[in-house]
């Protein structure tokens, strides 16, 4: 009788452990870069709102990828990037999507900073370009890793006109 009870308890524990293992297995499978930008990239102060054009993607060493976003006139933007790569010289550029392809910002000229804020006076199409340099000796070379781009925006603050007294 005692032996039967011990066996039942062990059986229950085994079922519990198996459920947990299956759960962990499913979580690892589903991980990918889901919400990577929201968990890993730097947030600006709370006067900004998160912008729905933010995204994350898988990159490998030596890879460049772009996406096109839209900015409105009269708004401020804060863009921050984050990544799983151990190297620090990941380049990000903001390029105006016009005939001239004007480079608006290049972090390679700014010590590879991972965030930038800007005000914008007219609507623009902007290309966000991320480049991960090639590292032939990197141990994790064959593993694709996440890169996130987190975008925030707010209305540009306008000084009130004719402000006198209170």
């Amino acid at each position: 009788m005692l032996k039967k009870n011990i066996f039942r308890k062990m059986e229950k524990r085994l079922i519990g452990i198996l459920f947990i293992l299956i759960g962990i297995h499913m979580m690892v499978e589903a991980q990918d870069c889901y919400y990577f930008h929201e968990y890993q990239c730097k947030f600006p102060d709370n006067t900004y709102y998160i912008n729905g054009q933010s995204r994350s993607a898988l990159f490998t060493y030596g890879m460049t990828s772009q996406f096109k976003m839209v900015t409105f006139g009269g708004e401020d933007y804060h863009i921050s990037i984050c990544y799983q790569f151990k190297i620090k010289n990941i380049r990000f550029r903001l390029i105006e999507d016009n005939e001239d392809k004007t480079v608006l910002f290049d972090n390679a000229e700014n010590k590879y900073v991972t965030e930038v804020s800007f005000s914008n006076n007219v609507a623009r199409r902007i290309i966000i370009e991320i480049s991960v340099p090639d590292e032939p000796t990197a141990k994790d070379r064959g593993t694709p890793q996440c890169v996130g781009v987190l975008i925030h925006s707010r209305k540009t603050y306008q000084e009130p006109k004719n402000k006198l007294g209170f």
Partner: protein, 291 residues
């Protein structure tokens, strides 16, 4: 019975493990296919466009009031029977909820949230628009700020879900419905053309957002439903393309005293009354078709 359960669980785990080890064995093959995928990704340009919440935040000004006559009645939900019309209508109602929350009409929020929940279940997006939230709205447990946040987060969560599950065609249809509704509301709020009307200027600015949306539709137009919607929007696209671009001013980048960048100048969009009216009329036709 327990024995069967244990056997089942062990089998599931072993099957999963086998799948993983199988992957390890084929790691070269997997990396190759990943490399090919990434090469394809590199070649593809990704298009993003502002959400309905961002569109309404952009066009909102103090003198604009909420007009309930502009939103698609929730009673129409039953009308949408096939998956295409349900998905497009989902986008329409998402835009309506964005309009409701940004223009602070709390009373309308619950019905529209429920309509979105119903349609999202029909198109198999269950995680984003949670019924628990609807219950909290019903009990007045949420203020307008939290409602705005929920509207933003739910949309963002839905977009992430669709992208991660390779359902960008569904996202394309939802976005098409949402933009048709955003434009419909925006044109109604702005009224007749006037060059001094600030809302008219903002509608012009939405051209780039529409361009990106249209490019996004084109990328996924190997899907028949997306192809049909892109065809529906083709006339609108050609009208938006008629907006003149004044390229005399080059873009200048300068820095303020805090080190923040300021992007000034650049291409200016010019919209005349004739094109404005043509775009508005086409938006109304499109919206009628979608709802």
């Amino acid at each position: 019975m327990r024995g069967i359960l244990v056997f089942f669980l062990v089998s599931v785990l072993i099957a999963g493990g086998c799948k993983t080890s199988g992957r390890k064995e084929n790691s070269t093959q997997r990396n190759d296919s990943l490399a090919t995928q990434q090469e394809k990704k590199f070649q593809t340009v990704y298009y993003r466009f502002p959400t309905p919440n961002e569109v309404f935040t952009f066009i909102k000004s103090e003198n604009l009031a909420f007009n309930p006559a502009l939103i698609n009645p929730v009673s129409n939900v039953q009308k949408y029977i096939d998956s295409k019309s349900q998905t497009i209508a989902l986008g329409v109602y998402i835009a309506d909820l964005a309009y409701i929350t940004i223009f602070e009409s709390y009373n309308n929020s619950l019905a529209y949230y429920k309509a979105i929940h119903n349609l999202s279940e029909k198109v198999r997006i269950t995680s984003a628009y949670d019924l628990e939230v609807a219950k909290r709205i019903e009990k007045n447990l949420l203020n307008l700020d939290s409602l705005k946040n929920i509207s933003v987060e739910s949309y963002s969560s839905m977009v992430e879900f669709l992208i991660m599950n390779n359902r960008e065609t569904t996202l394309a249809l939802i976005a098409a419905g949402a933009y048709a509704e955003c434009f419909y509301i925006a044109f109604n709020l702005s009224g007749n053309y006037s060059s001094s009307n600030p809302l008219v200027a903002k509608i012009i600015d939405l051209k780039y957002a529409f361009d990106n949306l249209y490019s996004y539709l084109e990328i996924y137009s190997d899907n028949q439903q997306v192809k049909e919607v892109a065809m529906d929007m083709k006339k609108l696209k050609s009208l938006f393309d008629k907006i003149k671009e004044d390229k005399t001013n080059k873009t200048i980048v300068r820095q303020d005293k805090n080190g923040n960048l300021i992007f000034e100048g650049g291409t200016k969009l010019i919209l005349d009354e004739k094109i404005y009216n043509q775009i508005r009329d086409e938006v109304f036709v499109l919206r009628q078709k979608f709802i």
